[in-house]
Symmetry: C2
Subunit: 149 residues, 2 copies
């Protein structure tokens, strides 16, 4: 097996094809990682969430990363990581981006109800609105494993 | 869909059954996430790596987390996160733990050659030794999605 660095083009291609990633945030240098569905467009990744630990942390420290991979057997995998700043997108000023992300993510059964359901288990308020946000990509890199020739 | 908190027992059961996770570390409050193979034993998770970004970062800031999930459709998933401190395990003093981890991870084709191959692409030294380390679990929590009854 050989491991090679992926080109930026290949990294972006993977971000456009895979919708499941792991979002990393940090507070007081403690990292926190959660699985997320995301949509890539125009050098940013877009996500929805209700207010909870990761949103509270990124509001305090906007440094974030998103790791996305395709992992087959041990000798067949790709992994991309992007870093960037958390930016919240209020609905009134970002309707078009929100619509694009909703459309891209609508194929995932119940994706939108995940954060809502989670919050409803602990907060008895069915009217909780999801937060829409993006990570503007500042760096992107990836590694790919190739079977030995 | 309902989302419920997993018991500690259920979290540990998932850590014992799933070997692929995402390791989070942080430096200067910048999070970094990479896919890893791990082995759970005795309230710790054990991993191998060669010296690179994540090892350099955890040597400077030992606060780490490991996120592990099983994701089916949008309405069928579990995710566990553990936090703890990075501890390096020199071979001469941790031979038994190392042997247990090697045995547990040996089923993953080429798992051990991943970090080696990566380093060999960039450093022309075939004798690089992998670092063996563990995260001692300080906190553990998990969420599980259940189809609506």
């Amino acid at each position: 097996m050989r491991i090679i660095a992926m080109s930026r083009e290949d990294c972006v291609e993977l971000l456009g094809r895979v919708s499941l990633g792991r979002l990393g945030c940090a507070l007081d240098n403690q990292p926190h990682v959660v699985p997320v569905r995301f949509s890539y467009a125009d050098n940013s990744v877009y996500m929805f969430s209700t207010v909870g630990k990761k949103i509270n942390w990124m509001r305090k420290n906007p440094k974030a990363c998103l790791q996305v991979d395709e992992i087959g057997s041990g000798s067949n995998w790709s992994s991309v990581i992007v870093t960037g700043k958390y930016t919240e997108l209020p609905e009134d000023r970002h309707a078009a981006a929100r619509e694009r992300a909703l459309e891209a993510l609508s194929q995932y059964s119940d994706w939108w109800s995940i954060p809502l359901a989670e919050r409803r288990e602990t907060v008895s308020d069915p009217a909780i609105e999801p937060v829409f946000f993006r990570i503007d990509i500042e760096s992107i890199s990836g590694m790919r494993a190739l079977p030995e020739a």
